[in-house]
């Protein structure tokens, strides 16, 4: 390919992020990774995510927060106090120098400071302004407060998350790890901004877009909502009432996770032919011919007994060995990878997925790269580390005033 050097996809695009925590910072990061210039406006005390861990050895330090460093690399930091009029003037003078603003302040934050969209657009009519709110600006819940946990559960994703359980009364719906609802809102916001950019290419005009975190999460749900829903009864969370062999936290004839001597392996020998090959892989144990496991239906009926026998076999073995032998026999399976496993994974290493960035205070850190490559080349090349609080204030203000 001829343009492997030309990897700055959004070169020349200028993004101002006024973000707190996760969603807006993640949205802006999606632009930074593609080569846009991203300036992060922080209050004097910094983005609150600077106070959240994980921290090295559990010791708090505003330049060493794992959460902050992970979603703010490739950005510049400017500190302004939008509660005082001098800084608001500076903020207004910055606006003509940006194409896009992404923010997730509380509802009313900008109106209360006389920085409503009407004023903003009179200063820069081509500016695209993207707000992220948990429930949007309108509707009965618009004044409600929510965070990641609340949105995940409210969206139906937690209810459908792990499928049916033995006893729904003691095993509540649960959320995924990390801040997934915030991530989804952020990704939705950056996509909304990208759509607006295409509109602007045609009209030259900016716009204001308000992304709802709840709407964003509902669009993510498939099995939990769409499969059975849209007018039908909700999916059961009670295993004994589950008719089919759905995938879930519990095991089924379709597959599940097996305990090994070094963790777990996820296997899915669902078709009869795959099941045959799976038995071969186990060295055709004595129970292989058992009528109880002869068909997919029978395996579902006797799933508990089956899983006990499988676990007996897997327990002394390594999840990596089982996964490798399974894949050789074309059976879908993978180790249940931990973060450490992933950092050492041969496939991700081959594809150079992780990006190493040196940070002034926190040392050399590994970041997930973009999930795609351009013409077989990795895109984020030479991306800078997360900024120290306010370290570009002077530089940005000099440029804008």
């Amino acid at each position: 390919m001829t343009d492997s050097q030309d990897t700055s996809i959004l070169d020349g695009l200028r993004v101002l992020e006024i973000g707190l925590g996760v969603s807006a910072p993640y949205a802006a990061l999606n632009f930074a990774k593609l080569g846009a210039e991203v300036v992060k406006l922080e209050p004097l005390e910094g983005d609150p995510s600077r106070t959240h861990g994980p921290f090295p050895n559990g010791i708090k330090h505003k330049e060493k927060s794992g959460l902050f460093l992970a979603y703010n690399h490739g950005k510049k930091s400017i500190c302004l106090d939008l509660n005082i009029s001098q800084d608001r003037d500076k903020f207004e003078s910055m606006l003509p120098h940006f194409d896009l603003v992404i923010e997730n302040q509380n509802l009313g934050f900008f109106n209360d400071r006389r920085l409503g969209y009407k004023k903003i657009s009179s200063i820069n009519p081509s500016l695209i302004w993207v707000s992220i709110l948990p429930f949007g600006e309108v509707g009965p819940y618009s004044q409600y407060v929510a965070d990641d946990l609340v949105l995940f559960h409210m969206s139906g994703n937690a209810h459908g998350m792990i499928g049916p359980v033995d006893n729904p009364e003691v095993e509540p719906p649960i959320r995924a790890g990390g801040y997934q609802a915030e991530m989804v809102a952020g990704l939705t916001a950056s996509t909304a901004a990208m759509v607006a950019m295409h509109q602007r290419l045609k009209t030259g005009k900016g716009c204001k877009i308000v992304v709802s975190g709840l709407d964003s999460m509902i669009t993510m749900a498939i099995s939990g909502i769409a499969n059975s829903a849209f007018g039908q009864q909700p999916t059961t969370r009670e295993l004994s009432k589950e008719k089919g062999s759905s995938i879930g936290g519990m095991v089924s004839a379709i597959g599940g996770v097996l305990k090994c001597n070094d963790g777990y392996v996820a296997i899915s020998p669902r078709e009869d032919s795959q099941w045959e090959r799976w038995l071969e892989l186990m060295g055709n144990p004595r129970w292989a011919d058992d009528e109880r496991f002869a068909t997919r239906e029978n395996r579902q009926t006797n799933v508990s007994a089956l899983w006990e026998l499988l676990t007996e076999w897997s327990l002394p073995r390594s999840k990596f060995d089982i996964a490798r032998s399974g894949q050789e026999k074309r059976i879908p399976c993978f180790p249940v990878n931990t973060i450490e496993d992933l950092l050492a994974d041969e496939h991700l290493a081959y594809r150079e997925f992780f990006v190493e960035i040196a940070h002034f205070d926190a040392g050399i850190l590994l970041h997930p790269g973009l999930p795609y490559k351009l013409n077989n080349t990795n895109i984020p090349q030479g991306i800078s580390s997360a900024p120290r609080l306010g370290s570009h204030t002077q530089e940005i203000l000099e440029r804008c005033t």
């Binding site: 509707g139 995940f152 509540p172 990390g178 991530m183 849209f230 590994l366 970041h367 795609y372 351009l374």
Partner: protein, 395 residues
């Protein structure tokens, strides 16, 4: 009042997408492009009807035209090349060898369309040791580290029924396509994008990679709990399988919650700060749940929200569908399937710049647009169309 102009045919009305994707991630991505006015031509295999059972296909394939075409026949491949010559973007999510066997590569396609943008999105990307591995949602999410962080207890990871990697990849696809279309507008250059489905969710676990590479930190499943805050979880409410999610992350919220629960046992000075509440999480959870278990989840949500406490009734699919907030916001989309039957689907979470709702249309049948596309778009004669039909190249 909306501050976004309604664009009659959407912000992406200039884009034509040739869509070979199937299952979920790809179709969700191309549906998003279609909702904003891109003309998406879904290329289906005439031997594989689109099931309307379970409604997942209906959900994912609205606003797309459908041509049924045998890519494995040489005449079919020729039709495909003609189609690519009038398109802007080709998107596919087969396993890598499928496209190689069909002899449909980016290099071939450039010959008929030199500015083409193409995206391949197999499970694990086009290169590397796992590239030919099958990517079922349930095992791919194990690979992607998702399972190792879901569960009630640290040492027992659970699978999800959500195939969570897919929708995240679908959105990443849209973001990438639009970035590269913009780049093409500036530089005139097409591009080839190799998007690995399993890589997308890894981008949402950044803090754990950063922390592990700094100090070996490892995150374990912790149910609904938070590593720093408590109470933080789903608490039982009155009724069968009814729950409320409550998240207390500062002292103000704690004081508000305490006022509502009104239980002397919560007055302990040990619970006055964040770290004290985390240490005593079990005891606090028991007291809070004693209280919530006597309450209706919906009423309790309103009560706590009035006091600015982040709380929500844990919704199932039907709750979501009937939710007053979502309905007031006109989040859902409605399609009249027959005289008496209107189906309700999820809407488009990305607001603004959409194709006008009155122009949205439900999933087209297999090959419903084959004639239009061949005759009107590609200028084939009726004879040629009929002959392709007869040879079962199209349907």
């Amino acid at each position: 009042m909306s501050t976004v102009e309604i664009i009659p045919s959407g912000a992406l009305r200039h884009l034509r997408i040739i869509d070979l994707t199937r299952v979920w991630a790809g179709p969700l991505g191309t549906r998003t492009l279609a909702d904003f006015g891109a003309e998406v031509i879904k290329v289906s295999d005439p031997r594989m009807p689109l099931s309307r059972v379970g409604k997942v296909n209906n959900k994912l394939n609205r606003n797309k035209l459908n041509i049924a075409l045998r890519l494995d026949k040489s005449d079919g491949r020729d039709v495909f090349l003609d189609l690519v010559s009038i398109g802007d973007v080709v998107i596919e999510n087969f396993r890598p060898r499928v496209m190689r066997n069909l002899d449909i590569t980016y290099e071939n396609l450039l010959e008929v369309n030199p500015n083409l943008l193409m995206c391949s999105m197999p499970g694990f990307g086009l290169t590397g040791p796992y590239s030919e591995y099958p990517a079922f949602g349930s095992t791919a999410e194990a690979m992607a580290g998702i399972n190792s962080m879901i569960g009630y207890v640290p040492n027992r990871p659970l699978q999800t029924g959500l195939s969570y990697a897919d929708p995240v990849s679908g959105l990443n696809l849209v973001h990438a396509i639009l970035a590269f279309v913009r780049r093409r507008a500036v530089t005139g250059k097409g591009s080839f994008i190799d998007l690995a489905l399993a890589d997308s969710p890894l981008g949402t676990l950044g803090e754990f990679f950063v922390a592990n590479s700094a100090t070996g930190y490892e995150q374990h499943p912790n149910g609904n709990r938070h590593s720093e805050y408590a109470p933080h979880g789903a608490f039982r409410c009155f009724g069968n399988d009814q729950w409320i999610a409550i998240s207390i992350t500062n002292d103000f919220q704690w004081e508000q919650l305490k006022d509502e629960v009104n239980d002397i046992r919560l007055e302990s000075p040990d619970y006055d700060d964040i770290s004290g509440r985390k240490v005593n999480e079990e005891a606090i959870n028991r007291i809070v749940e004693e209280w919530t278990s006597r309450k209706d989840a919906g009423d309790l949500m309103k009560q706590l929200q009035q006091k600015r406490v982040p709380a929500a009734k844990v919704s199932n699919n039907l709750d979501v569908l009937n939710d007053p907030h979502l309905n007031r916001r006109e989040y859902f989309s409605h399609f009249r399937i027959s005289e008496e039957n209107i189906e309700k689907y999820d809407g488009q979470a990305i607001p603004g710049n959409q194709k006008e709702r009155s122009k949205w249309f439900p999933m087209r049948d297999l090959g419903e647009d084959s004639n239009t596309i061949l005759v009107e778009y590609l200028g084939y004669s009726d004879d040629k169309y009929l002959s392709l039909l007869e040879q079962e190249v199209i349907s």
